[in-house]
Amino acid sequence: MKHFLSLVLSISSAFLFGDDSATIFSKDRLVQFYDEFLLEEKLYLSEAGVGSYGGVYDPFTPPPNPAAPPFKSGYLPMALVNQSGYPDSQVYVLVTGDLTDGATQAWGQVDTSPGSNFGVASLVVAATGQNATQFSCTLSQLPSYNAGNGNTGRVLYLPQITSGLVWFSIGEALSMTVNGNSIVHPSYTTTTTNFDTFEMTYLLSGDPQVSVDTTAVSAFSIPLYAYLSGATSVSANSGVYQPRSYIMEQLESAFASATESSQWSNLVLKNGSTVLRCLSPGQAISASLFDENYLNNSASYGYSYLSNLLTYYNTHALSMTVGVTVPSTATYNYTGSATGNIFSFTSTNGGPSVTFEAFANGPPYTSSTTYNILEGLNLVNPITQPTAGTAADAVSKLFEEAIVAGILPTTNTVVLSSLVANQSSYYKVNANLSSPGGTTGPWYDLYSKVLHEFGYIYTYAYDDALWPQVLLGAPFTNNSTYVGITIRNSQ
């Protein structure tokens, strides 16, 4: 009896005065267990339509912004609301990015033990032998909080990070290795796990200090809808919120309706009947799923867009205005013309001349002008890439942006500000195309067109210029600034 009483007293005191050690009883862990149990039960109820887990929501209405999560001084909280249709225990999160030096790649190691650092990610420099699975956690392992509107939120606390990527995957953690000191991202064509990424940078020396965006530059798979509190950017929200299945259906439908549907339909990557993701045309070319010479293949399509462009600008002038920052900030006006299969640009106000490499076809696809345009590689030198901010960089980018958006050929001056002011004119059949260009193709980026009908999301390498609404920026105010991401229906 005496021993029994001693045991009871020991256990009771362990419950009452337990700390966060993983080896003894802990009040925090018991509370965490209770919370997880309740949330799992809540999810079951939600799935059966009895009560709600992610709040009652209209799948075709933007979700409400998550309420402010609890703060931890110095960290940027990322509030995650799971409306994916999958339980928190099946939604995986992984953080990768660079240290504040902007060069050293690192993983986000998330503390999943209840305690003062619960949910805090610390950066671990990438090294050979590591795998992303070591650094992944599920939403259910993160602290929960009341995100408002009936939503249950999870919080991830991020330290300063540059070029950060938050990876979401369903059902299993992503596997990524390290080659040298570089993290090898998963293949968009062979990975069967449903995954997507969210881009963010939190740097106290940055301007803005916090910047985030939703991206489908490589592929689209999971609808993510973002919010940045205290945003000073054009908008405080970006991303898409419609159900994944609906977006995929719309993409498939648009591709099937295209004249060259045999090419576009290949963008929707399937594993059997399961849609894995929708690839961007550039990604699809690198996987041999899309014609690497799509823009210059008259033998297949009875029309060559690039030949049409060269012919047009052999007799017309292409006026463009670009802003440069290297070697110094300036705005240059250019007049471009085509001779043979080479475009060259001459500045009328002191800018350096710019000449593109001769338009060419693959194989290999890396030699194809089509690939360079759709993948956002520089047309002056796609291999070494001119320094960002130079005239060679700016002219090539604007030229490619105008092609992807369907603006070229045009006799109007191509200037970014006028493009952005007329976003509704993007992705339409260009009236200046010679026959049969108007009835074939399309010769703009149909992938971008469809996704932009759902919301502000990057779909092309230089969409930051075409769609400035996507990038959210804000100064960092300690214990006030936070990012919200709602993971919408991903089934």
Binding site: F37, L38, E41, Y44, L45, E47, A48, P143, S144, N146
Partner: protein, 287 residues
């Protein structure tokens, strides 16, 4: 205790005045009842004495029968379900005139309910233990029984939703029945009865499967009522065998869950409202 008898006597006086035909007799009889309840002597007429002796001799009443129930079920904020239930019930009553009343009732029924959100299989089990006091008036042609006790209600749902996987809800609810029974002897072969029971809950819980191991506490619901009109036909001259046909209505509520996470996120199980209409058909044995 005297206070309770006083209340019983006053109720008896007021009901007896309207229920019976002979006002003088009523007043006398209720006065007698009141006197009896107060522990004082009363006089007995030969007929009354015979009647009383007969009842005193057979204070136990055992009933067994089946039932049909139509149920309308509505979870708060969600679409309704409707369906039919069938089952059986057994009850034992000990009822002496102007004396202690005790009873044990058990009721089981089950069936299916259908709605736009899916289908539910409902299992209903109710056990009620009662004790109270029976007061008579109008020459024992009218009896009022006031009772309370303890009740246990189990409501098991197998919910097959239109989307999502099957869920089981097991409601276990303790309640305190507080009620009144009225017996109006209309003829030697027929007694009209009325029953009304208020059933405030005291400890309602629910467990949800597939995640077992937790019984979630629900808010106590007070607005639960049962009302019935048993028509008691005596089948034999000796009053030993009875046929009781009992139309009934019941309104029952399950409370919503009260559980929240440490950060205030509620479990969010909504409350339910049931409306039961039906009829019990029982065979009774008095002894």
């Amino acid at each position: 205790m005297n206070k309770m008898w006083l209340i019983a006597g006053v109720l008896c006086l007021s009901v007896g005045a309207t229920a019976a035909s002979n006002t003088v007799d009523n007043q006398n009889s209720c006065e007698d009842t009141f006197l009896a309840a107060s522990g004082k002597n009363k006089k007995h007429s030969p007929d009354r004495q015979k009647n009383e002796e007969q009842k005193e001799a057979m204070p136990s009443f055992l009933q067994l029968g089946g039932d049909y129930t139509y149920v309308s079920f509505k979870p708060a904020g969600l679409p309704s379900f409707h369906g039919n239930l069938g089952g059986a019930q057994v009850s034992y009553e000990y009822k002496r005139m102007d004396s202690f009343y005790g009873a044990l009732t058990t009721d089981w029924k089950q069936g299916h309910m259908h709605g736009t959100d899916g289908k539910r299989h409902l299992l209903y089990i109710d056990v009620q233990e009662r004790f109270g006091y029976t007061a008579t008036c109008a020459q024992e042609k009218v009896m009022f029984t006031f009772f309370t006790g303890l009740g246990y209600r189990h409501l098991g749902h197998k919910f097959i939703p239109s989307t999502g996987s099957v869920l089981y809800f097991r409601y276990n609810e303790l309640y305190v029945p507080v009620g009144v029974l009225a017996d109006f002897v209309a003829a030697s072969w027929f007694t009209l009865k009325l029953e009304f029971t208020w059933m405030p809950q005291v400890y309602p819980t629910v467990s949800i499967v597939p995640l077992k191991g937790a019984r979630w506490i629900l808010t106590e619901q007070l607005a639960n009522f049962y009302g019935s009109i048993p028509l008691d036909f005596t089948l034999t001259k000796g009053k030993t065998f009875h046929l009781v046909i009992e139309p009934f209505y019941e309104r029952w509520k399950d409370g919503h869950s009260t559980a929240k996470t440490s950060t205030g996120i509620p479990l969010g199980l909504p409350g339910n409202t049931y409306n039961f209409w039906g009829v019990n058909v029982n065979f009774g044995f008095q002894f």
